[in-house]
Amino acid sequence: MINYNKTREIGINILRRWILIFLVGEIVFFSIVGTNYFSLKNLQNILVASTTVLLLATGETFVIITGGIDLSIGFMVGFSSVVSAKVMVDLWTAGFSQPVAIMIGILAALLLGLIPGFINGFLVAKLRVPPFIATFGMYGIAYGFAEIICNNVPIHGLPTSLGSLGHGYLFYWLPGKLFSFLSWPENLSREELKHLVSIVPNVTIITFIFIGIFAFILAKTKFGQHTYAIGGNINAAERAGVNVKAHLIKVYMISSFFASLAGVMYVLRFITGRAPAGSARLLDAVVAVVIGGASLSGGKGTIMGTVIGALIIGVLEIGLVNLSIPTYNLHIAVGCILIFAVLVDQFSPELIHKEEEIG
């Protein structure tokens, strides 16, 4: 009997953390069969390559917890990348200094990016348009506007210092010789350059700062609590005095903010703005959220789960590249993981998430 209970307890604990175990398993697997997979450089590459999915999925988590979905984020990335790139180019050619042009370009994209979120939220909360329809409409609109802004061609000629920002690292370390914070060490010999270790990509730092802030908001604050309540029982939330409509509008704005941030990160990484940028990542983002434990019917999900879900996809993607396996296999693998995740959720006993502090 004791044995049975123990086995059961272990089983429950494994199920509860299966995505984490899965992620670690993936890394171990590719480290063994791949070449140079488990290296600082490659692991950092995975994080950078996951930027768009991580950001989109974080915003999407809020929306999915309320029981909605935001499809517009697919083309919001492109819209935001085009807006910020265009503003940067125009200001720079108009004679503004590079830092000013870059700053205003970023701010313009982030501020403008709130508008589609507001409209989505307004349509869903006040006019009762189904989220799928409202945000799918916005998906097309964002794409169309992006193409208009960039005249159907990728935007080039961005301020040259963007590269040092987007491709920079927090620390540079030459073992035994130098340690530099934020700035690229000058005057290094070829031999020294080979041994230079770069630690923590800027893009990843920015990404995780925002993810961290919003993970905190979701897990620790009244705003987060109300997000779960709306997803669990919208009438209960309303009768308990939660301003459901205003809350939903904010949630859709958070989602479009993260999509815009992903667009800005795209510009930093690729030094260009393109209308279709990141659009292929929409489904990956939704999948990451669902693998992370959220349910499309609302009320469940955490940012931690979502981040693990996004990394599961990123680790797999870079792993396939490492093994020179064509990336269309990624879709097959991700599809299987998604279905598995939903099945675990469906058939796992309530026990798995019986006691919970949040929500």
Binding site: T221, A229, V242, H353, E355, E356, G359
Partner: protein, 258 residues
């Protein structure tokens, strides 16, 4: 003694249908009043007028002697009228104490400037109110979805009580429960009334109402047809009043208006 709640000449129409028709009622402190009536008699509509969900087309409401206007559910909550609807309105994905505090979360400072949820406080306070009502739920960190129907009802009741309800309105509180759980909820009603809370209980399970209510109010087609002291009536008479085979007390008044 002054009634805690008094409604006078309340009428509520839905288009051509008069759901509540010129109805008077008084509720006294600590009293349990049962409202009985067939489906469609207007019971739910009456209590929705009192809890601010609907606005009466005519009539007045007095609470603790003062004439009041209840234009939305929040206003009713503010003056101490709590309503537990048939669907309970709990967020099933959240734990017990989060539901008790839903919409009125207790916050504390994090790093001196960020407001975060004070889980310890909410857990402790929820425990207190559940103890006060003799409710046993294994862990208040359990999600509502893991609780039985009776436990959910108890959570909904605790939630109202924690916020100092002076008048608690319960619409069909035992409808979805097993026999043992029905008993528990009815005991809870007795406990509350002994603590001075006034209760209006609606049910078409007459047995329930007979066992807790001291006074009965019988409605038929939107009208109050009779009021009885529970001890001075019996099931037969009440059934007769509900279905209309007995004329009721206000029949002349009704005839006159026609």
């Amino acid at each position: 003694m002054e009634p805690i709640l008094e409604v006078k000449n309340i009428t509520k129409r839905f288009g051509g249908l008069t759901a509540v028709d010129n109805l008077d009622m008084q509720i006294y402190p600590g009293e349990v009043v049962g409202i009985l009536g067939d489906n469609g008699a207007g019971k739910s509509t009456l209590i929705k007028v009192i809890s601010g969900v609907y606005q009466a087309d005519a009539g007045q409401i007095f609470f603790e002697g003062r004439r009041i206007k209840i234009s939305n559910p929040m206003e009713a909550l503010k003056i101490g009228i709590e309503t537990i609807y048939q669907d309970l309105a709990l967020a099933e994905n959240m734990n017990v104490y989060s539901n008790v505090f839903l919409g009125r979360e207790k916050l504390k400072k994090f790093l001196n400037f960020i407001d975060i949820l004070d889980h310890d406080y909410m857990l402790k306070e929820s425990k207190k109110v559940l103890n006060r009502l003799d409710i046993n739920i294994p862990s208040l960190k359990n999600k509502i979805s893991t609780l039985s129907g009776g436990e959910r009802q108890a959570v909904a009741i605790s939630r109202s009580i924690y916020w100092n309800a002076k008048l608690l309105i319960m619409d069909e509180p035992t409808a979805a429960l097993g026999v043992a759980e029905q008993k528990k909820v009815l005991n809870l009603v007795n406990t509350l009334s002994s603590q001075g809370v006034s209760i209006i209980i609606i049910s078409h399970q007459m047995h329930d109402v007979f066992s807790v209510a001291t006074r009965l109010l019988i409605m038929r087609r939107g009208k109050k047809v009779a009021e009885r002291i529970t001890k001075k009536t019996n099931a037969d008479e009440v059934v007769g009043l509900i279905v209309g085979s007995l004329p009721g007390d206000y029949i002349e008044a009704i005839e006159e208006k026609r």
